[in-house]
C-alpha cells in the first residue's frame, strides 16, 4: 500500500494505548504477582506498614509440603482428574452430536440451538441450577421414581467417596512415570513415522528416566516427611456433568465447522471406492478432524485449569471435595489475607495454563503466516 511515513507513525501510535495497557495490566501485573509470591506479604505485614520481606520459594514449598495446609495438594489432584474427565466428556459427546447433526437431518437448526444455548449462560447460573438438580434428597436422584424405580442415592457434589487413593509422598515418582509414559509415546510415534533416529534417541531417554526412577532418583525429590492420602474425589463427577453440559456445545460447534469443511465429493469418492459409512468416518473424516480435536483440548484444558465460578457457586469454598486452585487462591488472598501464599497459587496456575497455551499460540500463528 502506498503508505506515507506520517500515516505509518499514526498507525503505530493508535496501537500504542492497547500495547501499553496490556503491557502494564498483563505483564507488569504478572511480574508484580510473581514478586509477591516470593514475599511474606499478608495482613499482619500490611498492618505493620513494613515492606514485605523476601522469603524465597517458601510459599511454594509450603503449598507442596506444608504441614497444616493440604488444601492446595487436594486442589492439584482435583484439577488433574477434573481436567481429564471434562475434556474426554466434552470431546466424546461433542463429536457424537456433531456427526449426528451432520447427517442432513430435519430440524438441524433447532438441535444446534438446544445443544449450544448453555454456552450463552453464566457459569453462575449453571451452578445455581445444577446445585438444585444435584441435591441428593431431591433433584435428579428423584427422576427414576417417575418410571417406578427406586430413587438414586448418589450424593453428587457432596459425596465424600474417594477412589484411586495414593500417598502424596509418592507424587514425584508418579509424575516421573507419567513423564516416562509421555516421552515413550512420543518416541514410539516418531518410530512409526519412520523417523527412526530421533525416535530411538527419545526412547533411550525414556529408558534413562525409568532407571533413574527405579534407583530412587524421583523418590528422593519428596520433601514431605509424613504420609498424606489423596485420590480421585467422586464428587467431581457432578462438576464434570455441569461443566460438560455447558461446554459440550462448544466442541460440537467446532467439530461441526470442521465437518462442513470436508467436501461431500471426498466422502463420495471413498464410498465409490467401496468404503462403508463407518469406514469413511474412521479413515477420512476423523483424521481430518484431528487438528480440531487438538484445538478443542487446549481451549477446554485451559478453561478447566482456571475454573472458578462454577465451583464457587456449588462449593462456596467450603467443599474441599470439589475445590480447585482458583478458588483456593481467592479465599487465601481475599479472605485469609495471605497475599504471598495466594500469589504463589496464582503463579502455579499461570504456569499450568502457559504450558498449554504458549505452544498453541506460537504454532497457530506460525501456521497462519505460512498460509
Amino acid at each position: 500500500m502506498g503508505q506515507s511515513k506520517r500515516d505509518r507513525v499514526i498507525a503505530i501510535a493508535m496501537l500504542m494505548p492497547t500495547v501499553i495497557l496490556l503491557a502494564i495490566f498483563v505483564y507488569g501485573f504478572i511480574g508484580w504477582t510473581g514478586w509477591t509470591s516470593l514475599t511474606n506479604s499478608n495482613a499482619m505485614q500490611r498492618l505493620s506498614q513494613q515492606p514485605a520481606q523476601y522469603i524465597g520459594l517458601d510459599n511454594y514449598t509450603n503449598l507442596f509440603s506444608g504441614l497444616l495446609n493440604n488444601r492446595f495438594r487436594i486442589d492439584l489432584v482435583n484439577t488433574v482428574f477434573f481436567t481429564l474427565m471434562f475434556i474426554f466428556f466434552s470431546l466424546a459427546i461433542g463429536l457424537l452430536l456433531a456427526i449426528l447433526i451432520d447427517q442432513k437431518i430435519k430440524g438441524e437448526g433447532i438441535f444446534r440451538t438446544i445443544f449450544l444455548f448453555p454456552m450463552a449462560l453464566s457459569f453462575v447460573v449453571t451452578g445455581v441450577v445444577w446445585k438444585w438438580l444435584f441435591n441428593p434428597s431431591s433433584g435428579i436422584n428423584r427422576l427414576p421414581e417417575l418410571v417406578g424405580l427406586p430413587p438414586g442415592n448418589f450424593r453428587w457434589f457432596i459425596s465424600q467417596d474417594r477412589w484411586f487413593e495414593f500417598n502424596w509422598q509418592d507424587f514425584p515418582v508418579i509424575v516421573a512415570w507419567f513423564v516416562v509414559a509421555l516421552v515413550a509415546v512420543i518416541g514410539a510415534w516418531l518410530l512409526l513415522k519412520r523417523r527412526t533416529q530421533i525416535g530411538a534417541f527419545i526412547l533411550a531417554g525414556a529408558i534413562l528416566i525409568s532407571t533413574w526412577i527405579l534407583v530412587g532418583g524421583a523418590a528422593s525429590l519428596n520433601i514431605m516427611d509424613r504420609p498424606e492420602k489423596h485420590g480421585f474425589n467422586v464428587a467431581l463427577f457432578a462438576l464434570v456433568l455441569a461443566a460438560g453440559w455447558q461446554m459440550v456445545g462448544y466442541t460440537m460447534a467446532m467439530y461441526l465447522a470442521g465437518l462442513r469443511g470436508i467436501s461431500e465429493e471426498l466422502r463420495e469418492a471413498c464410498r465409490v471406492d467401496g468404503a462403508t459409512e463407518l469406514g469413511v468416518y474412521r479413515h477420512v473424516v476423523l483424521p481430518l478432524l484431528a487438528p480440531i480435536t487438538l484445538s478443542a483440548i487446549i481451549i477446554l484444558g485451559h478453561i478447566s485449569l482456571k475454573i472458578f465460578d462454577l465451583v464457587y457457586v456449588m462449593g462456596g469454598g467450603d467443599n474441599l471435595f470439589i475445590d480447585m486452585p482458583g478458588i483456593n487462591m481467592f479465599f487465601t488472598t481475599f479472605r485469609g489475607q495471605e497475599f504471598g501464599q495466594g500469589a504463589a497459587i496464582a503463579m502455579i496456575m499461570l504456569i499450568m495454563v502457559a504450558v498449554v497455551i504458549i505452544p498453541y499460540l506460537v504454532s497457530s500463528l506460525r501456521g497462519e503466516s505460512k498460509r
Binding site: 493508535m14 447460573v125 451452578g127 445455581v128 428423584r142 482456571k306 486452585p325
Partner: protein
C-alpha cells in the same frame, strides 16, 4: 419399511431401504434423547419457579405446578434488580469501548504491517488466556490507589483492558479478509490513515462489530471473578445471584426464578443472533 415384497428386485433393494430407515430413525432417537437431557435443567427451572413456596417439596420436584404463580418471579426480581441495573451500567460502556478499540487495533494490525507486529500480536493474545488470579492482587491494589476500587467505573476499565485481546483478534481476522486493493484505491484518492478507516474500513465493519459486541456483552454479563473481587459493594447480576443462592433463607423457587432472570438477556441475544454468537465462539480458538 415395506420389505415384504416377494419379487427378486424388491428383495435386493428393500433391505437397504429398511436399514437406511432404521439408521435414520436411530439418529433422531439419539438426538432427541440428548436434547431432552440438555433441556432437563430448563424444565426444572421453569417448573420450580412457577410454583409457590408451599408447592416446592421433594416428592413433587418434577411434576408441573398445580397452580401457576408469579410470586417467585416478583420476589426474585426485587432481590436481583440492583444487580441487573448495575450489570447494565457496566456492560454497555465496557462493550462499546472495547469494541471500538478492538476495531482500531485490528485495522492497524491487519493493514499497516510494521516490524515487530509478529511479536506484539501473540503477546497481546496471551492476555486473554491467562488465569486472572495471576493479576488480581496487583489489580486490587492499583484500583485502590486510583480510587476506583469497589466502583462500576473501575470494573468497566478492567473489562475494557482484558477484553482488548479478543476484540483485537476478531477484528484483525475480519479485516484480513478485506482485500488490500480496496484500501489502495482509497490511498490513491489521497485518503490517509483515518480517511481509509472512516470511508473504507468502517462502512464494511458491521458484521465484525455485531460479533464482537455480542461476544463482549455475553462475556461481561456472565463474568464473576472480577465482579466479586473488584466490585462487591455494587454487586453485578452474577454476584447478586450467587449471594441469593448462598443464603439459607431464600427458597428454591425464588432461586430458580432468579437464575432465569439473570440468564434472560444473554439468552435473548443468543436466540436472536446465534449465528454471530457462534462466530465469536469459534474466533476464541485463534485460528477462526
Amino acid at each position: 419399511m415395506t420389505s415384504t415384497s416377494q419379487s427378486s428386485t424388491g428383495r435386493k433393494i428393500a433391505p437397504m431401504n429398511w436399514e437406511r430407515t432404521l439408521s435414520r430413525g436411530l439418529i433422531y432417537v439419539v438426538l432427541l434423547i440428548f436434547a431432552a437431557i440438555f433441556l432437563l435443567p430448563v424444565y426444572m427451572v421453569l417448573v420450580t419457579s412457577f410454583k409457590s413456596i408451599d408447592q416446592v417439596n421433594i416428592s413433587t420436584m418434577w411434576t408441573l405446578p398445580s397452580a401457576f404463580t408469579l410470586e417467585s418471579f416478583k420476589e426474585a426480581f426485587s432481590e436481583l434488580a440492583p444487580g441487573l441495573s448495575n450489570s447494565l451500567v457496566l456492560v454497555v460502556p465496557a462493550t462499546v469501548i472495547s469494541a471500538a478499540m478492538g476495531s482500531m487495533n485490528g485495522y492497524v494490525l491487519s493493514k499497516w504491517k510494521f516490524p515487530g507486529a509478529n511479536i506484539i500480536f501473540p503477546l497481546m493474545l496471551f492476555g486473554m488466556f491467562i488465569p486472572y488470579q495471576a493479576i488480581l492482587i496487583p489489580l486490587v491494589e492499583f484500583l485502590n490507589n486510583i480510587g476506583l476500587f469497589n466502583s462500576i467505573a473501575g470494573l468497566i476499565m478492567v473489562h475494557v483492558v482484558y477484553g482488548l485481546p479478543i476484540t483485537t483478534l476478531i477484528f484483525r481476522n475480519y479485516y484480513t479478509e478485506v482485500p488490500d486493493e480496496m484500501l489502495e484505491a482509497g490511498a490513491i484518492d489521497g485518503a490517509g490513515f483515518f480517511g481509509l478507516y472512516r470511508y473504507i474500513v468502517l462502512p464494511i465493519s458491521l458484521p465484525g462489530f455485531v460479533v464482537v459486541i455480542i461476544w463482549q456483552f455475553t462475556q461481561i454479563w456472565n463474568e464473576f471473578l472480577f465482579a466479586i473481587t473488584v466490585s462487591q459493594k455494587t454487586p453485578m447480576v452474577t454476584v447478586a445471584l450467587q449471594n441469593l443462592s448462598g443464603s439459607q433463607i431464600i427458597e428454591w423457587n425464588v432461586q430458580m426464578a432468579a437464575s432465569f432472570l439473570a440468564a434472560i438477556p444473554t439468552l435473548i441475544v443468543y436466540i436472536l443472533l446465534g449465528r454471530y454468537f457462534i462466530r465469536g465462539l469459534l474466533a476464541g480458538s485463534v485460528k477462526g
